[in-house]
Symmetry: C2
Subunit: 154 residues, 2 copies
């Protein structure tokens, strides 16, 4: 594998010899789906993606690294917009860690807000389900609540 040949290499094989990979290998190396790799390129997160003569995309090691960065960021719940900022900072040697920390802190606040909302729902629902017999009779405090508080259910 990877030994050089004498025949006029189609650019694809040539590119692969130069350490570039196609989108299938990029998927396996990054854990990002083919669809999403193309999408991130469209969003401008992957720059200078080259092509073979047959129009196949070619990725280098930096691209793969960027894809892993995006994947990890998504795992931590950052939006694509935030990831765009984080990527810029990552690629900027003159960044201040303060600007990164700021983005992360704002994101943590967003997450905590959402957690509070969800927890509020859980609390209400657990109270209601606790009050609900869960048997064969139709009487149900859960429906009563949804239908307008403990009042009538018309």
């Amino acid at each position: 594998m990877g030994t050089s040949v004498h025949k006029p290499l189609p650019e694809r094989a040539e590119a692969i010899e130069n350490g570039l990979v196609d989108i299938g290998q990029a998927t396996r190396a990054s854990g990002v789906s083919v669809k999403m790799i193309r999408h991130y390129e469209e969003l401008g997160l992957l720059k200078n993606v080259s092509r073979t003569v047959a129009n196949y995309r070619l990725y280098n090691a930096q691209h793969i690294h960027t894809l892993r960065f995006i994947k990890r960021s998504r795992t931590l719940g950052f939006s694509m917009e935030e990831i765009q900022e984080l990527l810029s900072l990552w690629q900027d040697r003159r960044r201040s860690s303060a600007s990164v920390k700021k983005i992360a802190a704002r994101h943590v606040e967003d997450l905590q807000t959402k957690i509070s909302e969800l927890q509020g729902m859980v609390n209400t629902l657990q109270h209601l389900t606790h009050c609900c017999a869960g048997d064969n009779r139709p009487d149900c405090p859960i429906l009563d609540d949804l239908a307008g508080g403990p009042a009538d259910a018309s």
Copy 2:
């Protein structure tokens, strides 16, 4: 009311005399936006919505009650699909409270799963931000993590 009249009443005024309301009043009475009222009708959650001769929608008291039911259910995080089930049960006098409780319990599980996910993100991010100096220097454990764990950031 509901008595026949001598003048050729535009059906709208006639309908309003019969206790029906237009979409504007339905919005104010239910807290559901005009857009969403129309959307819920399209989804089949509001049935038998009548119209004036001028094609204005007309809602009765049951419709308003249903809209409030939907709104409350959304507040508790139920999906439209779940709300459809809940509405069916609400309107079924032969329902068992067990079936309602089952839907609610499943929803609580979903919520708790999501809360756990978000909390995991928060935990990781708080650890990272705690480790990040947040000053003018570029060194940043947050970026290091995103770039592939505590390893290099190439």
